[in-house]
């Protein structure tokens, strides 16, 4: 029984997560509609549905706070959907905070903490939408709109001037339409605004939007057409026609549901003024000027959004567009800012199966075993060479090859199942930026691209916090204050870009800002103060990154809410490295900063360089290998060891193990390579391996498969005479680069990575194990630990 309930609970949390994700996504789409008379019905429906589901689920499980809060939010959304209230900035903020608190409530229940107080937020919702409608309208027209802290200039939404007798709907003309209109008016024509209310009865009489359009074109020039959603959920079409026809011509069209008004000069002027100026407030005394703002979310096309487009897309209804062929309507997408491709996680839940990641891990493991079994089969087939007739052998081998191909497909299939679109975390970034914009009073435009890029679920989860940190850094450190930006001749709006792409077996994620760039001077002087670099060292971008990521490093004198404690970047770097990825930095003073993260698509399978040292085989993750080279052993420089220059100081003090002889880890060899000094890592010494005398029987101990490989590999650096040449594998970068001395390089393999889970075999310098098809475990080197230990300290 309890088990049943707990698995039910797991489902509850998972479903809530999904709904919350959808809510976050949809709230971002709603943002542009703030203070607009019309809201996208479909998005509201989705939001409403998500809250409704959370409410129901929470009720079943007994999370009362979540149920209650979801109920309040649902009620507000219903009011919005039924056009009882207009979405105000206040309302959107309440929805956003409500979502946050709702998430907190559910999380608190999950980890069995007391739930946060939901009374204040529930009260907020009640005050927002229990206002009587009159008051609501008062507010609509109030002269003094309270301004939001984060207003972007040039997003004014003209509302109806009070002086209009029969209020026409404010129409959004495209620039070219306004020009056409102005030109036509100069010729002495008059402008009329027609409104047509379609209906079934009229349609029966053959009066529909298309016939009305023809009628209008018969009396003059049709400048603009636009569908308008009505309060009652119906739809009307508004047209602007320039004509010199007499009003008698169309006065009796009223009976066909076509009303008309003179299109006011003033309206036209204001249209033009907003076309001509982007950042000018329109000034002609229209009441109720509204400002909406915040971080704009754009995707794919990074055009600078003009307020013109903003206002156009803001009031274009989507349904009639499909129903009626209004070819004059601008072909902009119906939804403002909606990402071009629909994200895969919005598929209908009916054909989605939720699977625990651990089960997929097991599946992956089984596939790995199959791969290994198959290579054993291949070995056995080779042993039959002498006995079997050639024809039989050939068919067996063909079967074996087919099997190999199918297994590869199977493995890829399982890997694909684990992949999720990275868009999931990008949405969270958008929220983080939104909050930061409020805190920092900066203006930010966010560009997102490649949100459909897929990556292993586990990696996505691990990257959430590091990415958040980079984004926060970009807003709080990277972007300058508005005035400063203007002084530098930049747009007052800062730009932050989040990008993801798949490049071969890696996923690249970029976080870029167009801010001030990393202050190399400040970093250098701080580093000199902390004596992490010499007094006259100049910094490469790699070293710069190393310094920024060093623990406790901050150029800030004081920490603030968002950053400045000097640990965040350390976490970023460590997480990326642990996941087998790379972090790099590209920065230009005054131009901006770009962090580039390269991650493997999946953790389970990686490319590795297989090497042998003293007869033992090791795998080095290829992602950390820089180059393979040979140097004369005479070039190795020994330097005296200092008694207390231990690099093992307590860091590795593991109660399970004998204290290591410090000298084993103490590095005293280095080599000059491409203008830098690399410490040498001698695995034979670190790992207490028998030192191999080349040509001895150590090679006999190599596994049969590897021996084969030895003979077949063509691109192997053979140690011709190890007395004079050392084979080096250069690993790591920047500060942590080092050279591993190996006897042989046996080749490159795709390996299935297995962690060493038991404390008995968790040792410094070994990251895990794999096998190369013969069932024999091969240890994978932990490059980070090895290079850290080898770092020369003096």
């Amino acid at each position: 029984m309890t088990n049943l309930f707990s698995s039910f609970l797991d489902d509850y949390f998972a479903e809530c997560d999904e709904h919350l994700m959808a809510i976050r996504q949809n709230l971002l789409f709603v943002e542009p509609y703030v203070n607009q008379p019309l809201l996208s019905r479909s998005i509201l429906d989705k939001l409403f549905g998500s809250f409704h589901s959370i409410k129901g689920l929470s009720g079943m499980v007994g999370v009362n706070e979540a149920e209650q809060l979801a109920h309040e939010m649902e009620s507000y959304l219903r009011a919005l959907r039924d056009n009882k209230v207009v979405l105000t900035t206040e309302g959107l903020d309440a929805l956003l905070s409500g979502t946050k608190i709702l998430e907190e409530v559910i999380t608190a229940y999950r980890i069995q903490n007391p739930a946060p107080d939901i009374v204040p937020i529930c009260d907020r919702f009640r005050t927002i939408f229990t206002k009587p409608e009159a008051q609501e309208q008062e507010q609509e027209k109030s002269e003094l709109q309270e301004k939001v802290e984060l207003n972007l200039p040039g997003q004014s939404i003209p509302t109806v001037a009070d002086t209009q007798p029969k209020a026409p709907k404010s129409l959004k003309l495209k620039p070219e339409e306004s020009i056409q209109l102005a030109a036509a008016l100069e010729k002495g024509n008059r402008a009329w605004q027609f409104e047509f209310l379609p209906g079934t009865e009229k349609a029966a009489r053959g009066i529909n939007v298309n016939t009305v359009r023809q009628r209008l074109q018969s009396i003059g020039q049709l400048i603009h057409a636009e569908p308008i959603a009505l309060e009652n959920g119906g739809i009307a079409f508004d047209f602007i026609v320039v004509s010199n026809a007499d009003t008698d011509t169309f006065a009796d069209w009223e009976k066909d549901g076509i009303s008309y008004l003179p299109y006011s000069e003033q309206e036209i002027k204001s249209q033009q003024s907003t076309v001509n100026s982007q950042n000018e407030e329109s000034e002609n005394g229209r009441a109720g000027e509204r400002e909406s703002g915040g971080a704009e979310i754009k995707s794919q096309k990074s055009t600078v959004k003009s307020q013109k487009e903003e206002r156009e897309s803001g009031t274009t209804a989507e349904s009639p567009r499909k129903a009626e062929n209004l070819d004059n309507i601008s072909p902009t997408p119906p939804l403002p800012h909606s990402p071009a491709p629909p994200l895969p996680f919005t598929v209908a839940p009916s054909n989605v199966v939720r699977v625990d990641l651990a089960r997929l891990d097991e599946l992956m493991q089984m596939v790995g075993e199959l791969v290994i079994t198959r290579s054993r089969l291949a070995d056995n087939l080779n042993n039959l060479k002498t006995i079997l007739p050639a024809s039989h052998l050939r068919t067996l081998r063909e079967t074996n090859l087919t099997l190999e191909r199918q297994l590869r497909d199977l493995r890829e299939g399982v890997m694909r199942v684990r992949m999720v679109p990275i868009g999931e975390i990008f949405v969270r970034m958008q929220f983080a930026i939104r909050d930061l914009v409020k805190e920092t009073q900066k203006q930010v435009v966010l560009e997102v691209s490649g949100e459909t890029t897929e990556i292993d679920k586990f990696i996505v989860e691990r990257m959430m916090n590091p990415l958040l940190h980079l984004v926060r850094n970009a807003v709080s450190h990277g972007l300058e204050e508005q005035q400063e930006r203007v002084r530098w001749g930049k747009s007052p709006q800062g730009k932050i870009a989040l990008r993801a792409t798949t490049v071969g077996e890696m996923v690249t994620i970029e976080v870029e800002d167009d801010g001030r760039g990393v202050n190399v001077e400040a970093v250098t002087s701080s580093a000199r103060e902390q004596e992490s670099i010499g007094a006259d060292t100049t910094l490469s971008s790699e070293t710069l990154l190393d310094l920024i990521c060093a623990s406790g490093f901050s150029t800030r004198k004081e920490a603030d809410l968002t950053s400045g404690r000097g640990v965040g970047m350390t976490v970023v770097k460590n997480t990326v490295t642990e996941l087998g990825g790379f972090l790099s930095l590209d920065t230009q003073v005054g131009r901006g900063t770009r962090f580039i993260i390269q991650l493997p698509l999946t953790l389970a399978i990686a490319d590795a360089l297989i090497v042998s040292v003293s007869g033992q085989t090791f795998a080095i993750p290829l992602s950390s290998v820089h180059e393979i080279t040979q140097v004369p052993s005479a070039d190795v420089t020994l330097y005296p060891t200092f008694a207390n220059a231990s690099v093992m100081g307590g860091e590795w003090g593991d109660k399970f193990f004998k204290p290591l002889r410090e000298s084993k880890w103490e590095n005293n060899e280095m080599i000059a390579h491409r203008g830098t000094v690399l410490p040498l890592i001698r695995l034979a010494r670190i790992f207490n391996l028998e030192n191999e005398i080349p040509g001895s029987d150590a090679e006999e101990n190599l596994q049969p498969t590897l021996k084969k490989e030895l003979n077949t590999q063509t691109n192997i650096l053979q140690s011709i005479n190890s007395q004079s040449l050392l084979n080096l594998v250069v690993v790591g970068n920047g500060f942590s680069a080092a050279a591993i001395v190996v006897d042989r390089i046996l080749g490159q393999r795709e390996i299935v990575v297995r962690p060493l889970t038991d404390p008995l075999v968790q040792v410094t310098g070994i990251a895990g194990a794999t096998e190369l098809g013969d069932g024999y475990a091969v240890l994978i080197l932990d490059i980070i630990a090895l290079t850290r230990a080898a770092r020369i300290k003096n």
């Binding site: 075993e369 399970f656 193990f657 004998k658 790992f687 889970t757 038991d758 008995l760 194990a769 024999y776």
Partner: protein, 151 residues
């Protein structure tokens, strides 16, 4: 605990028993990959059913001399407290049911730490069988290493 089945293995001529609930499987010793800088009784790691597990040489663990593996050597894969490890024994072939009342607490006479590693002693077919406490065998601390590891 009335009549529990046990796996019997041999180590230096002595019979030991492990509760069969703990035993996942028994394997021949194939290739063991040594893990550098691990405790001396850890022979290394092996792949077993897709998992990497440590192989513990019980002879070294209990302070006896190492011998070469032969055809009778067995790797007994046990699972205790969410850990899976392999124990290397000289041989392991028997499967017996020992009645609960045949198990006695380990006598005081056996000095030192060994009583910690035994849950009891049983007489099975004229032979003494030492019943192993797997949880304790897998627990390691510096003290036990000092006591058992022949460094």
């Amino acid at each position: 605990m009335s009549n529990e089945p046990f796996i019997i293995f041999e180590l230096v001529g002595t019979k030991y028993a492990i509760s069969s609930q703990m035993v996942q499987r028994m394997e021949m010793i194939e290739q063991i990959t040594p893990v550098p800088n691990s405790p001396s009784f850890v022979e290394g790691v092996v792949f077993s059913r897709g998992q990497v597990i440590p192989a513990i040489n019980l002879r070294v663990r209990f302070g006896f001399e190492k011998i070469r593996y032969d055809i009778r050597t067995r790797l007994i894969v046990i699972k205790a407290n969410d850990r899976t490890v392999g124990l290397i024994a000289d041989s392991a072939r028997e499967f017996v049911v020992i009645p609960a009342d045949a198990i006695q607490p380990p006598p005081e006479a056996i000095c030192g730490l060994s009583d910690k590693y035994l849950t009891g002693i049983a007489i099975s077919g004229e032979k003494l069988v030492l019943i192993l406490n797997c949880e304790e065998v897998l627990k390691f601390s510096n003290n036990s290493l000092a006591a058992f590891g022949n460094s």
